[in-house]
Every structure is written in C-alpha cells, then in structure tokens.
Amino acid sequence: MKPDVPAVLIETAGLLARNADPSLPPAERASALGLSAALLGFAAQAWDGAAHNLVQENRAIRSLLGEAGSDDDLRLSALSVENARLRAALIALQAQVEGKDPAKEAAIWAELVASTERRLVAGSPA
C-alpha cells in the first residue's frame, strides 16, 4: 500500500494527539477521527498478510520472468523495493509478449488476477 503504512501510522498518531485539544471544533474533530479510524482499519488488515503476500508475489513474478532468487530480507520496505523492480520487469515482459505468446500472456494475466485478489481490501467497492 502506498503511502507506506508506517509513515501513515506515524502521521495518524500525531493527528490523534492534536485532536485531543478540547478547543478543536467538533466537526473538524469528527472528520479527522473518522478518517483516522478508517486508515487504522486498513493498516490492521494489511498487517498480518503483507510480508507473506509480497513474498508470494515476488516468487510468482520471478517464475514468469525466468529469474532465480528469493527474498532474504523480509522487512516490508525491502520486499516492496524488490516487488517494484519485479513488477516493472513484468510490465515490460507483458508488453513484449502481447499478441505473440498466448500461453505466456495468459500466465501473466493469471498472476495479475491472483495478485489483485491477494491485495483485496475488505469492503472493496469493486
């Protein structure tokens, strides 16, 4: 998720602290707290599965690209950097095989669908 979860949580913590000020207009406080609550809910959803999903996705994309390798650094920041590199390479590969290699194309689409399902946010409007 972008912006990154830790950065948003730090900012949200500051916002919650500022909202403790009793002189704040109630409507502004309600708006800030409502949105903060929603962000905390998204962060909570992402917490448990985030590393697992990125490892799975990176593994699947490496396979499509014919790359060897694995994720040794399991920090989300490191996994995300590698994920971005692999997804950029996947875009290039997909553009290259479109209309030329139906089997590879289908395999890429299957992974893109699977990746979207892995990243599914509860209550998604679509």
């Binding site: 998720m1 502004e28 309600a30 708006s31 949105l35 997804r87 893109l112 669908v113 599914l120």
Partner: protein, 342 residues
Amino acid sequence: MSSTLEPRLAAYIAGRMPEASEVAVDSLGRISGGASRETYRFRLTWRDAAGTPRERKLILRRDPPASLIDTERRIEFEAYRAFHGSAVPVPEMLWLEEADAALDHPFFVAEEIAGHQASPGLLWAEPYAGCHQHLAERKWTILGEIAKADPLALGLDKVMEPVTADACWKRELVYWEGVLDEDEAEPLPIIRAAIRWLRANPPPPAQKVGVVHGDYRTGNFLFDTKGEIHGVLDWEMAHLGDPLEDLGWSFNPVWSFGRVLAGGLIPQDEAVAIWERSSGLKADPAALQWWTLFNCVKGQAIWVSSARAWIDGGNREPIMAYPPWALQNAQDRAALKVMGRL
C-alpha cells in the same frame, strides 16, 4: 484555523459588497472530504443599504497546499456559473479570488444548498433505500442535460481548452498516462496493460464535443429522500470532450459501491437508456466500454496522485492517504472486470 479565517473572509466579502455594512462571518466549519479543495460552510450577516439585517448560508472552497488533482479553479467556477439556472442544478457562484493574499490560497464563495445529502453510504438504508429508481432517473437525466449543452452558448469555450471530436480520447489518455508517469509510487501492471489496449483500440470520434463534468458519480450531487437531486457539485475536472467520458466515469465499477448496479442504483442498460433519452446522443457499446476502461485508468491516476501528494509531504491530511488505500486495489479490480479478466 476556522476562527482565524472568519475575520479575513469577512473583510474580503465586505470589499465585494460596498453597499453593505456590518459584514460579518460566523459558524465557519470545515466539511469533511474534499481532497482537492478545502470546503467550509459559514453564515454571512450584513446590513443592506436600507439598514435591514440580512444573512445567508454560504460555502468557501479554498485550494489546499497540495491537491489530489491539480485543477484551475476558474474553470470550476465558470462551469458552475454556466449551468446555474438551467436543467442542471448547481449552487450560485458569488466571488472568485485567484490571488493568495486574502486567504493564503485561491478560493471561491458560493451559495450553500442546505438540507440535503451527498454521502453514498446513506443510500443503502432508510429513508433513502426506496429512492434509487427516481434518483437514478434524475442522475442520468441530468448527465444527459450536461451532454446536450452547447459549450459555446454557455461561453465555456473561453475558459476550457478546445479539442476536436477525433482528438478527445487521445488528449485525455495522454494526460492521465502522464499523471501516472509522474506520480506513481509503484509499478501498476494492470493499468499499464489497460493503457496499451486503449491506445491500440481507439474509440470513434465523439458525436459532439460537449461539456464533460469530469467527476459525475454518486457522491458528487446533493439528494433528498425522494431521490430528487438539488445540486451537482465538484466541477473541478470539467473540460470539453466526448460526453461518453462522463457516462463511462459514472459506470466505473468503483462507483457501484460493491452493489454491482451502475452507481449502486440501477442496471447499467437502464442508465444508458435514460442518458440517451435525455442527451439525444447514442452510447455505442464499444465506445462506452473504451471510455469505461479509460476511466479506470483515470481513477487510478487520481488515487496515485493523492498518494504522491501525501508522500512528498505537500499535504499530509488523512483524506489524502484514504483514497489510495481504499481504492487502488478496487480500481485494479474494476479494470480487470471491464477488460473481462475477473
């Protein structure tokens, strides 16, 4: 923040109402939402030339330090003004200020259309659950009226960039692809595949070059319990273009709110029929599908821009982090659905 704005806003308005005395602003409060503009409601009081006390409920829309979408507030202001008093209900625009001096950022002041709701979340329960059919009839009839309007007669050709009928699709696609190139914080394979498909399968030229609202969806108009629409809001992305663009945005699956129906209200074919009756235009299915997929790209570009504004530190309001977190995955899912992949 609100209390310091009140006297400055009053001073500005007093300068625009030379016949008035005792001009004052109170009850200024920020309205939640508004990722591209800060929106406040307030009460203006004054004495007219005869000394009679007057009051009016108004809206202040002010540019934030960094926005979800970069838009020209003059275009938004003039779009509202063009449709005021027409079959497209909009609030009356009063003053536009494009300099920073008065309130630190450009802003405009408009009439408040009070007593109605805009939040889609209210629609799925009483007392609004029974109004969907009528609301949908009004929603796509009004969108048809926007499509039917003559931008030249409205004077909008003077503030909106011109475009030819055969160039509408390309101009929009190039613009929003550019936003993605500039703002994306991570590669987006599904949206990039959608862009390649859109470029390889362009739609036919627009039937007419019309006014495109640019963000016409459930959530951007004020409704009541009977399903009547009292004000179409958020014209900040208004431009000249193919009227099918607006129809496609209204069918972007993220605006179905998980209810499958168009806008969460009625089946899409019924909405198309209403729009065709109202606009006098045809919604060619292939062209409409192009514009619906295009709007998945545009939507993703907007969520990505919001994330970028937050990441770069220009705007750390929670409303800027919310759209990318809530909608980026949904927008990918929507694109997959429109492409028949999900």
